[in-house]
């Protein structure tokens, strides 16, 4: 074993998935949830976020670069696996496969979503309630967003489970089972928040 980089890249990938990308995801879904309080409430929350000081710094170092690294390295990881749920249909092997599939779906969704909102904003569009209402008025886009958001919350929740293993926090089978229940809870809770926000625009 010559090099030593891989260990640190893998640990960095794991860490970035939770801090900051996972934290940003939770914050983002909660802000979007203001849409359930009506147009005004959402616009107020969204504009508050836009007016945060050091906005570009925060966007680049808390969101863009960590996500880009995690996504690119994640694709490499995903495509070096040879999935085998056909012969080994165990729960964790399913989660292993779904972690990779949801990573790829999330990448497609996030790329499109960023293009449609943040990049559009850079070209002068105003990101507000109306914009999302227009996007989600198309049934195709509504399904695209629903699937995208649920795929992301799954990927994050299940990633949290493997994060606890990767860093040696959950070692025994029992702690890993408890962690499974907790992360299922995270998945359900975040999915409810995310889906409620989407449905508030339709």
């Amino acid at each position: 074993m010559a090099g030593k980089q891989e260990f640190y890249w893998r640990r960095l990938h794991s860490l970035l998935g939770v801090i900051p990308v996972g934290l940003f995801l939770m914050q983002h879904l909660v802000v979007n949830h203001f849409a359930t309080g009506g147009e005004e409430s959402f616009n107020k929350a969204a504009h508050f976020m836009e007016q945060l000081p050091f906005r570009y710094f925060l966007e680049i170092f808390i969101i863009f670069l960590p996500l880009l690294f995690h996504a690119i390295y994640g694709l490499y990881i995903a495509f070096t696996a040879k999935n085998n749920i056909g012969q080994y249909g165990y729960f964790r092997n399913w989660m292993f496969m779904l972690q990779r599939v949801s990573g790829v779906i999330t990448l497609i969704f996030v790329a499109w979503h960023v293009w449609e909102t943040r990049i559009a904003a850079a070209f002068g569009a105003d990101v507000n309630f109306q914009m999302m209402e227009t996007i989600l008025s198309s049934p195709f886009m509504l399904w695209f967003y629903l699937i995208g958001v649920i795929s992301t919350t799954f990927h994050f929740a299940n990633g949290l489970w493997s994060f606890f293993v990767s860093w040696g926090i959950t070692v025994t089978p029992r702690s890993q089972v408890i962690s499974t229940y907790i992360t299922i809870g995270v998945f359900i809770a975040l999915s409810i928040v995310g889906v409620r926000a989407i449905l508030a625009f339709v």
């Binding site: 074993m1 010559a2 090099g3 030593k4 980089q5 891989e6 260990f7 640190y8 893998r10 640990r11 990881i77 495509f79 070096t80 696996a81 040879k82 999935n83 085998n84 012969q87 080994y88 165990y90 964790r92 092997n93 989660m95 292993f96 496969m97 972690q99 489970w161 493997s162 293993v165 990767s166 860093w167 040696g168 926090i169 959950t170 070692v171 025994t172 089978p173 890993q176």
Partner: protein, 253 residues
């Protein structure tokens, strides 16, 4: 057909390490208590396939015949396991035999498991006591810990866990669960622990511990019931501490 019961085998064969695999069917008379190896021996005694054509005997590995050496591992009806303990009465027919293709195929069902022995050398899965003078007796191991370590020491390097792992394949150089668990075993040994850091550094190298993606197929498949994923998670904890020491510096060796 008459009242005679028969057993059908579909065997994946390969004449040389580089030639294309092909399948050959065999039909044997049923005998009580036959297992996969006794069936292969029967074919070797009379190498005639199901079409009645003479063929070459099948090549496979075996040694202990009691599921402790690991040599006879192959994929039986889609699952890697030891052929010496695979009873025909418990298998669905036709019985499909394939080599564990995670390893280089030597011939037919015989594979080259060297990579696992190379990994054991790489991680120094032993207790170094050689020297120019007698070091005297080492520290004693508490009985409780000895019993726990005994479970890890049951590994027979059979390769089933590597075969089951989705991250051990031709696209990756992951060393697999077997040698990682041995690192845990030897790091837990009172004398072996003297080289703990060295072993951890090795598995923090490329193709090492970090390649585990937690499919946990290994622990489900190990015929010896070795708690492989517990070992891996525990090593994740140990290497977290080791990485912390490396990163921030430490005056401990």
């Amino acid at each position: 057909m008459s009242d005679k019961r028969t057993v059908r085998f579909i065997i994946s064969r390969q004449d040389t390490p580089d030639s294309a695999p092909y399948q050959e069917e065999f039909e044997l008379d049923y005998r009580p208590n036959m297992n996969v190896i006794s069936s292969l021996m029967e074919i070797r005694r009379n190498p005639v396939n199901a079409k009645g054509e003479a063929t070459t005997p099948i090549a496979w590995d075996m040694n202990c015949l009691e599921e402790v050496c690991g040599a006879c591992s192959m994929v039986i009806n889609g699952r890697p396991r030891q052929s010496c303990s695979a009873l025909v009465d418990q298998l669905e027919q036709p019985i499909r035999l394939e080599p564990m293709r995670t390893f280089p195929v030597v011939r037919d069902l015989q594979v080259d498991r060297s990579r696992m022995f190379d990994s054991l050398k790489r991680v120094k899965a032993w207790v170094p006591i050689d020297g120019t003078y007698d070091l005297g007796p080492g520290p004693r191991m508490p009985e409780k810990k000895r019993q726990w370590a005994y479970e890890l020491s049951k590994c027979m390097t059979c390769g089933v866990c590597l075969e089951a792992c989705p991250n051990v394949n031709s696209k990756s150089d992951f060393i697999g669960p077997q040698s990682l668990s041995q690192v845990r075993l030897f790091n837990a040994h009172p004398t072996g622990a003297m080289n703990k850091g060295e072993r951890l550094e090795t598995i923090m190298g490329d193709g090492g511990l970090a390649n585990c993606g937690n499919s946990q197929n290994c622990v489900q498949s190990c015929p010896k019931g070795i708690p492989l994923t517990t070992s891996i998670a525990a090593l994740n904890r140990d290497t977290s501490i080791q990485a912390f020491k490396n990163f921030f510096g430490s005056d401990q060796v």
